[in-house]
């Protein structure tokens, strides 16, 4: 079974100002494990909604999302919590680190939810932070004392905390300068390759798309092209 992700006829609508907007309109695709893929489209094309559906941060109206053969649209409650905790790792454009925890504690947090022991949490978090380029000194800093690029690296380390098979990154370079952005992309590519983790990046940056093994083009909630 090579398909890590299999999406079939996925739909999601929102009501806005009395009108129904089809944010995701019958999207189907499949993706192999360990691939670095990007979803590209204009603002409002539905790419973040699609990513939220893949990460179970939102519920689809219809369709299927099979992850390693399990349809997560059929899961509820605890199993969905478990999916978010163990199978996927999320990163955001504005990093969304917990402001009153330092870098190390931020990375330890998902492991705490997964019931990993305190000592192991600390050790693994340190290792992960070093692997994304955050040294011991910076690990003790709170997010506000780190640069944008550093915060995104911490967020990536946090996403990797419970060794997920999928990383979902929503505009990971959106708040970064070009050079730092590309370094982050390289880091994500390296993770996909070395850890055999499927990485899906939502972006509107064609340069990132060019560096991806697979690109999905979205327009008005529809998948218009993939290569």
């Amino acid at each position: 079974m090579n398909n890590a992700i299999l999406v079939k006829n996925l739909t999601k609508s929102f009501k806005s100002g009395g009108k129904v907007i089809k944010a995701v309109d019958g999207i189907s695709f499949e993706l192999e494990r360990g691939v670095f893929a990007s979803i590209i489209g204009k603002s409002g094309s539905g790419k973040t909604t699609l990513l939220n559906l893949l990460g179970a941060l939102d519920k689809a109206d219809s369709g299927q999302i099979e992850i390693d053969g399990v349809d997560i649209t059929k899961l509820g409650g605890r199993k969905l919590d478990g999916y978010r905790r163990k199978t996927v790792g999320f990163t955001f454009q504005s990093y969304n680190l917990i402001p009153n925890l330092n870098a190390l504690e931020n990375v330890m947090l998902p492991m705490e939810f997964a019931g990993v022991s305190g000592r192991e949490r600390r050790g693994r978090a340190k290792e992960l932070l070093l692997s994304v380029g955050i040294d011991e000194n910076r690990q003790k800093r709170k997010p506000a004392k780190l640069s944008g690029g550093e915060q995104q690296r911490v967020a990536i380390a946090r996403a990797l905390a419970n060794q997920p098979t999928i990383i979902l990154a929503d505009e990971p370079t959106g708040n970064l300068d070009t050079d730092t952005g590309y370094k982050i992309v390289e880091l994500l590519k390296k993770i996909a390759k070395e850890k055999n983790t499927t990485v899906i990046v939502v972006t509107h940056d064609n340069e990132i798309a060019r560096k991806s093994q697979k690109v999905f083009y979205l327009r008005d909630g529809k998948l218009v092209h993939e290569d």
Partner: protein, 403 residues
């Protein structure tokens, strides 16, 4: 929280004092043979058999039986001179009581009480032993006596002295002082000894029944009345004391209402502040869910955080109550002098403190601390569980993009 604690302390102390007072005043029932008062009147004396069932009644703590008599012959000299009052109304020695010298007779009381002397409405005054001892169980029918201070002085009686009465010899084992000359001119004997000496076997001239609380006097009175029917008059002062205590009990109720009010206020405040917290932290909740926090984690976190605040409040409130509570409660329960208003509260305070006899009330105790912790836990859980449940139901995608 401090208010609640202080109210709890006030409530505790008032309730405790009210119970003390109830157990100390107005809780005695007097039984006297119908038609007889002291040495006046007519009719039949009661018997021990008549009164026996009373001691097994519920709430009855003591049945003090007395037999009063006047000796017709004794070697003792009365400590009281007849004076003008005695000349006019007193008894006269001599045949037929018609002539002879006026005298004030010595009163003899038989009692079944050991370890104390019965307070007697006839003799009056607070009775305390100045030397020797009270009767003991082994004295039941022994020829021993406890005599009044003035009578002892007049007759040069000391502990171990003997005197003669009704042709019998009695040994002095104790000397008492009641603070009044009249009641110090008397002799106490064990009940059985008195019955035998005055040939009144099994007779009792009056009895005093003590119950555990003034609240239980009425029911006990009814029971005794139906037991003795037309043989005796049964009286108590319970009603008067119950009335005196009712304002205190209403203070106690007021403090209970205040406690509930303070707790409800605390729950409402915590509830709304937690709702505000949820709104402020809505994004954080979304992030935590996105990185794998379960609803259980979120609810636990919110409840724990609220509990921490709530317990901290309990600690601060306990400290404040410990420092200031005693003063506040003492002021609440015992207003100082002055002010026309609040006369009842003053009276009530005096009554409480007067009977407590310890002056300042030390009211902060382990029980108060336990209440503080209990309130903290209840307030913490009630105030946080609903906001926590609301938080846990949020969809991460809806809140995560908020700035």
């Amino acid at each position: 929280m401090t208010v609640a604690l202080i109210m709890i302390m006030a409530n505790q102390i008032i309730s405790k004092r009210v119970e003390d007072v109830k157990g100390n005043v107005g809780n005695t029932i007097s039984i006297s043979p119908r038609g007889i008062s002291g040495f006046e009147g007519g009719g039949n004396l009661l018997t021990e058999g008549d009164l026996k069932p009373i001691s097994s009644y519920e709430h009855v703590t003591q049945v003090a039986m007395s037999l009063r008599a006047r000796p017709s012959s004794t070697g003792l000299t009365s400590a009281i001179e007849p004076g003008t009052f005695g000349e006019r109304f007193g008894q006269r020695a001599g045949p037929g009581g018609g002539g002879g010298r006026a005298f004030v007779s010595i009163s003899v009381t038989g009692t079944n009480i050991t370890g104390a002397l019965p307070s007697s409405s006839l003799l009056g005054g607070e009775i305390s032993l100045t030397s020797g001892r009270y009767f003991e169980a082994s004295d039941a029918s022994a020829k021993v006596a406890i005599v009044g201070k003035d009578l002892a002085q007049k007759n040069s009686l000391k502990i171990g002295s003997t005197f003669e009465m009704e042709g019998e010899k009695f040994k002095v084992v104790g000397i008492y002082d009641s603070g009044a000359l009249f009641s110090n001119n008397a002799v106490y004997l064990p009940l059985k000894t008195t019955q035998k000496t005055f040939d009144l076997t099994n007779n009792v001239s009056d009895a005093s029944v003590t119950v555990d609380s003034v609240s239980n006097v009425d029911t006990t009175v009814s029971k005794i009345e139906s037991l003795l029917s037309d043989k005796a008059d049964v009286t108590s002062e319970a009603e008067r004391f119950t009335e005196a205590l009712s304002p205190l009990e209403s203070i106690s109720q007021t403090t209970q209402v205040a406690v509930i009010g303070a707790i409800v206020a605390a729950v409402v405040i915590i509830f709304f502040s937690m709702l505000i917290t949820v709104r402020q932290r809505i994004k954080e909740i979304g992030i935590l869910k996105a990185i794998g926090a379960s609803n259980f984690h979120l609810v636990t976190q919110f409840v724990t955080e609220t509990m921490a605040v709530s317990l901290l409040a309990a600690v601060i409130a306990s400290a404040l109550s410990y420092m200031a509570g005693n003063a506040i409660v003492n002021n609440l329960v015992q207003p100082t002098t002055g002010g026309g208003r609040g006369g009842f509260a003053q009276g009530a305070g005096r009554l409480l403190l007067g009977l407590g006899g310890t002056g300042s009330l030390q009211v902060f105790n382990l029980e108060t601390l336990a209440y503080a912790l209990l309130i903290a836990i209840v307030v913490g859980i009630l105030g946080s569980i609903i906001p926590a449940l609301i938080a846990s139901r949020l969809k991460p995608a809806e809140v995560i993009r908020l700035e």
